[in-house]
Amino acid sequence: MASGLHESDVANPVLRWIDARLPIISMMQKEYGTFPTPRNFNYFWNFGALAMVNLLIMIATGVFLAMNYTPHTSMAFDSVERIMRDVNFGWLLRYVHANGASMFFIVVYIHIWRGLYYGSYKAPRELLWMLGVVIFLLMMATAFMGYVLPWGQMSFWGATVITNLFSALPLVGPDIVTWLWGGFSVDNPTLNRFFSLHYLLPFVIFGVVFLHVAALHITGSNNPLGIDPKGPQDTVPFHPYYTAKDSVGLVAYFAVFAILVFFFPNMLGHPDNYIPANPLVTPAHIVPEWYFLPFYAILRAVPDKLGGVALMFGSIAILFVLPWLDTSPVRSMRFRPVARIFLFLWLIAFFVLLYCGGKPPEEPFVTIARVASAYYFLYFLVILPLLGRLERPLPLPESIARPVLRGGGPLPAGAMSKPMEKA
């Protein structure tokens, strides 16, 4: 072995020469080939990989859309319509990008739900979870700015309402809003900077996703039982077991995506966004995109402006401290019969908020949204901390392999020690 070179066991001499100097093949083999992964994942564990694929789809379609888009208030709307009408397959790129945003949030919401149900945020995965919340926040900022770009009525008024949230800050609020706008209202400077940032942020997301995955590969994955693997009998190598399983989920995901894009491309959008922006006419009913509705409902549930803004940001900020609010040592809700009920109630509250956020700000929706917002916070701030002390969890299984094998065949000893055939 030459000094300073990585000792590579790749068979192909050219690849070995590269791997000895830059061991990316060895690294991929370690992290995605032989990486020991709990053997009992269910299909909820597909959604991390799906989110990664979705991010790549968004970046790819976005880069090509940007080649034909014009970020100017007088041309943005028509340039999008030119993409839809005159650019070859422009309609496909745009509908994939627009519905891809919805798919991304569906995937990420399920991914977050997986984390909540199986306690993936608990020690030692606190930082992994917090990086995930950072990705979620960046996604929301990116999606918000992207929705402004077509410069329709909802683009303009959504941008106006959301940027005005910052005017609630005491003292510096109005100056910050002027600074965000680059003027005295949402206008061309705003559109230009939103386009710039909308192009930048996905690459920042990509960076944080890298950290998220790096942290995951230190702690290893959680699993539906929430107990740690005790030895090789509890794990399988990532490839081919989970590459195969993720592929099944990926095709199902593409099927849903395709049905949206090809048959219902505007179902999740708002008709008003096909009307060019008009700063002097407010649409009768401003609603953000569906994935923001739960948070929009929390904003509107509070009669005080600053309070509403604080509570809305608080509803996401609270996720950062969730690992310390949940005091139970048991991760998976499978073994927490009481907490599980409260968590499902929380899920219902989330959907109720999503529904109320799309309704006009009138009774009974305001009261319903208030009750649901209160429960949203109650779950994190009171119920979880108390239940950790009061609840008696069900007995945990001894190991992952044991319940898996209940009623199954003998332990496949060969499966573990078998050398990988493919990289």
Partner: protein, 182 residues
Amino acid sequence: MADSMAPAAPEDGGTRRDFLQLVTASFAAVGVGALVWPFISSMNPARDVLALSTTEVDLSPIAVGSAITAVWRGKPIFIRHRTQKEIDEARAVPLDQLRDPQTDQSRVKKAEWLVMVGICTHLGCVPLGQKPTDPKGPFDGWFCPCHGSAYDSSGRIRQGPAPTNLAIPDYAFESDTKIRIG
């Protein structure tokens, strides 16, 4: 930072070196701050945007009881030629019933002309009430369709989530029938 980098050194020379490192680091921090500021400041309104800061409006075509919407700095400006009934209504309200107490007198330069920024102080929508067909809300003024704020005939917040009254821009009467905003 300076502490951790200083190995055990003779008392005198050690403190001198620490001090020098501290001064250098502080200077560098000032430099970084000076470099960041142009980037932040470039996002503030540019000079051409600031230049479009005044506009003139002719009031003569506005009949009593009707209103027009002018544009100033990209914002709608509501100019309403109020009826005597609207003026009386606005002046009859006791101040302690208001969320943002202001007399009607302090909000106008001439009683029949109400000039204000037509942007809801909640989240920036344009309230309805300019056109005769628009809903005016329960206080005979303006009604914001976004989150349900209602303003009275003096543009003061009376109901809903908005925290303050509709803002009054800087304006002056050039003549009896002409105002300059900004």
